[in-house]
Amino acid sequence: MESIGSIADGYLLSTLIFLPLASCVVLWFLELLLRVFANGAGISEAFWKLYGVAVSLAGFLVSLEVWNRFDPASGQLQLVERVPWLANLGIHYYVGIDGISLLLVVLTTFLLPVILLASWSDIGVRVRQYVFFMLALQTGMLGAFLSLNLFLFYVFWEAMLVPMYFVIGIWGGARRIYATIKFFIYTMVGSLLMLIGILTLVYMHFQEFGVLTFDYIGFGGATGILDVPIAAWPEQDPWWSQRQVWLFLAFAFAFAIKVPMFPFHTWLPDAHVEAPTPGSAVLAGVLLKLGTYGFIRYAIPLFPEAAQACAPLMLTLAVVGIVYGALVALVQSDVKKLVAYSSVSHLGFVMLGLFAFNLQGIEGSVLQMVNHGISTGALFILIGMIYERRHVREISAFGGLAQVMPIYAVFFLIATMSSIGLPILNGFVGEFLILLGAFGTYPIFAAVATSGVLLGAVYMLWMVRRVFFGPVVHQANQRLVDLSLRERLVAVSLVIPMVWIGVYPASFLTPMDASVNALLARLRDRGAVLSDEVALDANPRGGQEIDLAGESEPLEKEPDA
């Protein structure tokens, strides 16, 4: 094990996390040196941009190496690193990856270079800071995805707010200060509840076992939070007096704001509208997924009984979000706002799949997180391209663009189709699995949610029609130039994963199989203690084996006589 190669092995995830930030710090330092010793001549902005793209691209390559080393057959956390930090408080620098975080990590590292390339000519001022904040953001997001210590997770979770705050606040639109403070404070309020939840959880664990740890999973034989029946579920008590439920809700509140779930979504349209293109793309592409990821990594496995007891609540919010988000998107006149509300709808689907508690639903959800990141990220990037040319986002300011910018129209249409879930593009696979899974456990919720698929087509196509079809009515649109080579490169690199996931989703479903099954196994073990009146009764297909136990059907097929 302890060969030279395994040293790199040992720090692969840390390399992945800190590469962006560290590279940036190095360049800052160089710039500082140059300014001091070379008569104030710093590094050119163009070089900073190039450097940003190169570093994020290197991050993508590292993440591919992570994927390469990842063993899809195991549902365990892999490539684990654990270094004492504040060890006597149970706080460790503790990172690791499983099939679920793997996909989201690769999504992050994939999107960042694309976004940086897309914003090449968009960001004109303070380019150095911009590159710095974007790369710092990448470090924060990757850290949050990979943390296995609740304290570390919290630090990354909060840390990534800061660069985002500045990206919106500096390069944003007219109401950027309102939007960014709203975004910041709103998320923080949620996080504080989560922090209280974390501390309570750690304290309870300490009381019961005498071990103080923030670790997500026991390490080296020690018990960890996940291993013990913490916050047991006394069956005689009603659900609302269970400690677990309140802990779950504390976590869920923080994550629901981030997702955002209805009715905690109103910061999102403001943030999206005011954010610059790369800000919107990162926000929609990755940041929102931290909310759904929080559910699947923490809120659900830490509090399995509570999660199942609260499932009807979460599902109701999810389905309301799907329909409500779609209907509100329908009447927006601002392209970005429309896509922002469509995110509320799409992430409702993700939540629906998560709380279906079966393999189809959860795998669909995780895949849909990736899909939404790519499709909505692509939509925001494409909207940015036209915003750069016209500096308006009102739908009514366009019309007939298909004639003046046919290439742009093609890519936009592909992104639209991906977003509304057209088969052989990515969105369909996720949505289908989510709805299939949800229908297995909660047919009524799923049936209502399917209307979101219809409404999605309505608002997106209506927008496409008003922007791209019809005559060119505005003079300013007559002279628009079609996509440049760089822009086409960006668009193509976004279309490739759309088609790949749509045509061959196995590349993305297989790696998470074992991890999702491990999660389901935990839910099943713990869900069994639930009394009939709560969730499991309404959840007959929580996992495949549950039914097997109840039925004496032989596994081999009986040919029908």
Partner: protein, 683 residues
């Protein structure tokens, strides 16, 4: 013998490749290829598919005995989440064989026709190549739909044809109206698609409940295992208490109805037919290919494909029969009063599709597929003939301005006439045989409630069909031309690209039915080939076997012919002999005429009852009231304001307004909290 045949994948692959090559060229080279190259590439794809399909069908029919005729091609596992799995796999069995031959055969002819039709079009840059890309994409999707081995691959095609239809209807997108029609088609189709999806979900989980090993969406396995779920029931939720049979329904009835909603969307049945007449905004070859011969028949095909499930869902079948019959009548009535040549044909298509569903609903699947096939011939022919006339008339589509075209365009005239004769059901054309089989099947379907009424509606609709088609013929081809002198001077026959496909289809429409005449004629005239299609399909789809006396059968056929002829005769009187009559009737029954002419105001009703209220409630209630005022205003900002108020009075020193200090404060707070906890614990 091994039923695996990896050539099946080639059938949808050719059009896909052609579309990709052509599309990539446009996208990256950004110049249109020479038209000859585009046309050659685009047309060779469906022709190649047709050739592969013919070879595969011959192999299937030759090497395997009846009852075990099928070929499969498993490409790879597409979506898998245990126990759910969907292979990308293709299935060729007698049913899909008929469909694939119709789609690639008629499709190839329409591709060739399009060369001539679109060559005339100079409305937009890149129009020619873009058109053929869409057309090839459509062929790909349609072939996926037809050849899919499971419900999900079928759904790929199902949605795919919807998208291509959207693109092609809105092909001339510079006119907003066209784009709007395309969008309407997509959205209405999607309503149906949801029904399809729900049907898939219900069936999958029902099979899963019967035993995880049964959980599949593959057609052949489902057909084998259908008995496992045949007697399952579902409890309907309370909101559905108005439905008949509440509160328990057969599960297959529910699934069957959901799937039928899908069929209604795709095949333009009441209440989802409204997109098809508007789909005429697309170029005419599109109307012929998509909105007459192939895509719109997908619903009929799907229901036939799922016949093993419908066999246990008599309620669903009766619903299908009634919806089909009423659609046939309703659309026929509207067709009488239309003045756009393509709109007449569109309503005629809706009506004929209703006929096919009537057949399916009464259990005469083979009659439905037979009519599907003959309809593909004569309706594609009629549309392409109409297109030829439209080209000749320089894009005038109003039949009130036409007339006397027979003198200018002889080939178009005779081929169109062949189509009219076929659709009117005059023996021995193909339309006569297929329509007759449907009416016979309806007459004999004793287990369907109200089958005599259904028969009556069907017969009456046949008369209406004959009437409006003959009206169309007389108004367009007979009498004097009513357009301006300028237009008249330029009317001339179209080039061979356009007319050659017409001639081929006219031949099929006239004599194609003799390929598989009903048993009756086989016995009367001693034909060997009687009911060939029926026997070909029989192992796959359950056939309602009815004993019927020859005399009854002959009487029914005579009645159908008589009704058809009287329809033609009436049209002759009204639109040839006594040209003043229609106007007098229209003025006499002003209200009624207006109602029918305005298509019973269905679009207006939908707009008023669904679209407007939805937009209003979304904007005023959800967005402005709930989102802006309640949640954001009172909730979020209200909360923030009250905290701020508190802070200004009590905690002013902390209100620095800089986020950095907040973060700082938070981190300090964190540390303090932790320190407090730890010190309390005595670590």
């Amino acid at each position: 013998m091994d039923p695996t045949d990896s050539s099946l994948r080639l059938i949808p692959l050719f059009p896909l490749l052609a579309a990709l090559v052509s599309g990539m060229w446009l996208l990256f080279v950004r110049r249109e290829l020479p038209r000859g190259v585009v046309a050659a590439l685009a047309c060779s794809a469906p022709i190649a598919s047709f050739a592969v399909a013919v070879a595969a069908v011959i192999r299937m029919a030759g090497e395997f005995g009846p009852g075990e005729r099928y070929l499969v091609d498993n490409v790879y596992t597409w979506i898998s989440a245990h126990p759910f799995h969907a292979e990308l796999a293709f299935l060729l069995d007698p049913l899909s064989a008929v469909m694939v031959l119709v789609v690639t055969g008629v499709g190839s002819l329409i591709h060739i026709y399009s060369i001539g039709y679109m060559n005339d079009d100079h409305r937009e840059d890149r129009g020619f190549q873009r058109f053929f890309i869409y057309l090839n994409m459509f062929m790909f999707a349609m072939l996926m739909l037809v050849l899919g081995d499971n419900m999900l691959v079928m759904f790929v095609g199902w949605e795919g044809v919807g998208v291509c239809s959207y693109l092609l209807i809105g092909f001339w997108y510079l006119e907003d109206h066209n784009a709007m029609c395309g969008q309407k088609a997509f959205v209405v189709n999607r309503i149906g698609d949801l029904g399809f999806l729900l049907g898939v979900f219900i069936l999958f989980w029902a099979f899963f409940d019967a035993g995880p090993s049964y959980a599949t969406i593959e057609f052949r396995e489902m057909a084998v295992n259908i008995g496992q779920i045949a007697d399952r029931t579902v409890e309907l939720p309370g909101v559905l208490s108005f439905l008949p049979g509440f509160p328990t329904w057969g599960l297959l009835t529910l699934a069957g109805l959901c799937l039928f909603v899908g069929a209604c969307g795709k095949s333009a049945q009441i209440p989802l037919y409204v997109w098809l007449p508007d789909a005429m905004a697309g170029p005419t070859p599109v109307s012929a290919l998509i909105h007459a011969a192939t895509m719109v028949t997908a619903g009929v095909y799907m229901v036939s494909r799922m016949s093993f499930a419908y066999a246990y869902a008599p309620g669903a079948l009766a619903t299908i029969a009634w919806v089909g019959a009423i659609t046939a009548l309703f659309a026929g009535l509207i067709g009488i009063c239309q003045n756009d040549i393509k709109k007449v044909l569109a309503y005629s298509t809706v009506s004929q599709l209703g006929y096919m569903f009537l057949a399916v609903g009464v259990g005469s699947y083979s009659a439905a597929i037979f009519h599907l096939m003959t309809h593909a011939w004569f309706k594609a022919l009629l549309f392409m003939g109409a297109g030829s006339v439209i080209l000749g008339m320089h894009h005038i589509q109003d039949i009130r301005q036409m007339g006397g075209i027979s003198r200018y365009m002889r080939v178009t005239h005779f081929t169109f006439l062949a189509g009219v004769i076929a659709i009117c059901g005059i023996p021995p054309t193909s339309g006569f045989f297929s329509k007759d089989e449907i009416l016979l099947g309806t007459y004999l379907a004793h287990d369907v409630p109200g089958h005599y009424a259904l028969y009556g509606i069907g017969l009456f609709s046949a008369g209406i069909t004959a009437f409006y088609m003959a009206r169309l013929y007389f108004l367009v081809f007979r009498g004097e031309n009513r357009s301006s002198i300028e237009v008249q001077r330029h009317i001339e026959e179209q080039p061979g690209w356009v007319t050659a496909p017409l001639v081929i289809l006219a031949g099929l429409a006239l004599v194609g039915g003799l390929f598989t005449p009903p048993d009756l004629y086989g016995e009367l005239f001693g034909w060997e080939a009687s009911n060939r299609l029926h026997h070909f399909l029989e192992p796959l789809i359950p056939m309602a076997e009815h004993e019927v006396a020859h005399s009854t059968e002959v009487l029914l056929a005579l009645a159908a012919v008589a009704v058809g002829l009287s329809g033609v005769f009436l049209a002759w009187v009204f639109y040839f002999a006594r040209r003043d009559l229609p106007d007098r009737i229209a003025t006499g029954a002003q209200g009624l005429y207006q109602l029918v002419h305005e298509k019973f105001y269905v679009d207006e009703i939908y707009t008023a009852l669904i679209v407007r209220p939805l937009l209003w409630i979304s904007d005023r209630v959800f967005y402005r009231l709930i989102d802006r005022v309640l949640i954001d205003g009172l909730g979020v900002n209200g909360f923030a304001a009250s905290v701020r108020g508190l802070a200004e009075h009590g905690l002013k020193f902390a209100q620095t307004g800089s986020a950095q200090s907040y973060v700082f404060g938070m981190v300090v707070g964190c540390v303090l909290l932790v320190a407090y906890l730890v010190s309390g614990l005595g670590v």
